[in-house]
Symmetry: C2
Subunit: 204 residues, 2 copies
C-alpha cells in the first residue's frame, strides 16, 4: 500500500471516529418517546410509498397496522393487493371514493371523508395497533372535506401508544405544528416531464 | 341544502372537471417506458423506506425483487426481517459491513462496496427480476468506495427490463444526470431535534 493510501486511510479513520463519537453521544442523550405523529408531504413522490415501507418494517417486528386510504379508492394498487394478504396483522380500509377529479361530487367526497375519519379514530384508539397510516388525509383536509380544527383536536387527544403517519401534499400548517416529524418529498426530476406513463410497481 | 352550499358544490364540480380533463390528456400522451432509474436522496427520512414500500407494491403485482444493502449491515431491521420471509420473490443481500463510523476501516469498506457492486450488477442483468433496490449506494459513492464513472457506465449499459432504485443522501450529480426520476426527501421537523431516540418501526 502506498504512503498516500496509508495517509488517506488514517485520515478516514480519524474522521469516522469523530463521527461515531458524535452519533453515540446523540443516541445516549435521547429519551424513548412512543407514539410519534409523522407527516409525509410535498409535491414529490414517495409520501405514501414511504408509509407503506413503514408497514413492511412494522410487520418485520410482528406489529399490527391499521391503514385508512382517503382518496385512492378506485385504483387497484400493488400495496393494497400485497397487504391484504395479511389480514391478521393489517387492517386495510379503503374509504375514498376515488380521486376527487373522478367523482366531481363534493357532497359525496365529504361524506366519504367523514366516514374515513370515523374509522381512523377507531384505529387511533385501538390498543392492538402499533402503527396507523392515514393515507392522503392531507387531500381531504386541503379541500375542507374535514374540519382541520377537529382533526387536530382528535389527534392531540389520541393515546400515545402507537405511531401515526399522515400522507399527502399540501399538509396544513395546523397539522405540521402538532407533528413530531415532517418530511417533505420534493420532485427533482420526474419521468412525466419526459413523456412516460404512470407505471405499475412504480406509481401504484 | 343552502344556496351557498349549492354554489360551492357546483364550483367544486367545475374545478374537478377541469382537473380531470388535464390529467386525462397528460396520461393519454405518455408513452410506456420500462426500466426507470429512480434516485431517492436528500437529508430527510423516507429514502430507503420508500424503496421498501416499492418492494411491497411490486410483491402485490407478483413481481420479483432484488435488494442490495450497501451500508446498514449490522443493524437488525424490520424490513429485512419481513422481506426475508419471501425468499421465492425477494433476493435480499446484505453486503455492507455496518456504518462507516462503526468500522472506521476504509480498505474494508471499499472491499465490501466492490463486492456489493458485483452483486448489484448480477441483479441488474437478471431477467427474472422486475425491481432492484440499491440501498445506500449513494453513501458508497460519496466516500469514493466505488468509482462513479464505472457505476454510471454500468447503469447505462444495464438492460431496461426492470426498475432500479438507488437510495442515500448526497447523490452525485453524475448519477442524477442519468436518472429518470429523482426525489429529494427534505427534513422539515425531526424528533431527534426534540430529544427522541431512534425507534423500532420508525427508524429501522
Amino acid at each position: 500500500m502506498s504512503d498516500d493510501e496509508d495517509r488517506k486511510n488514517a485520515e478516514h479513520k480519524a474522521a469516522m471516529q469523530a463521527l461515531k463519537a458524535e452519533r453515540d453521544a446523540m443516541m445516549a442523550e435521547k429519551t424513548d418517546a412512543p407514539g410519534l405523529l409523522l407527516v409525509h408531504t410535498g409535491d414529490g413522490k414517495g409520501k405514501s410509498t414511504a408509509a407503506f415501507g413503514m408497514v413492511a418494517r412494522a410487520l418485520g417486528w410482528n406489529q399490527k397496522i391499521g391503514i385508512v386510504q382517503y382518496i385512492k379508492g378506485k385504483w387497484i394498487t400493488g400495496e393494497r393487493q400485497f397487504y391484504k394478504r395479511f389480514p391478521e396483522s393489517v387492517r386495510y380500509e379503503i374509504m375514498g371514493q376515488g380521486f376527487t377529479w373522478d367523482t366531481q361530487d363534493r357532497a359525496r367526497d365529504i361524506e366519504a371523508a367523514e366516514a374515513a375519519w370515523a374509522t381512523s379514530l377507531e384505529m387511533l384508539h385501538d390498543p392492538e395497533l402499533d402503527l396507523v397510516i392515514l393515507d392522503e388525509l392531507n387531500i381531504a383536509l386541503r379541500y375542507d372535506y374535514l374540519d382541520i380544527a377537529k382533526v387536530v383536536a382528535d389527534l392531540q387527544a389520541r393515546p400515545r401508544d402507537k405511531h401515526v403517519v399522515v400522507t399527502g401534499r399540501n399538509a396544513k400548517p395546523e397539522l405540521i405544528a402538532i407533528a413530531d416529524l415532517v418530511t417533505e418529498m420534493t420532485l427533482v426530476k420526474h419521468p412525466f416531464d419526459q413523456g412516460i406513463k404512470a407505471q405499475r410497481g412504480v406509481d401504484f
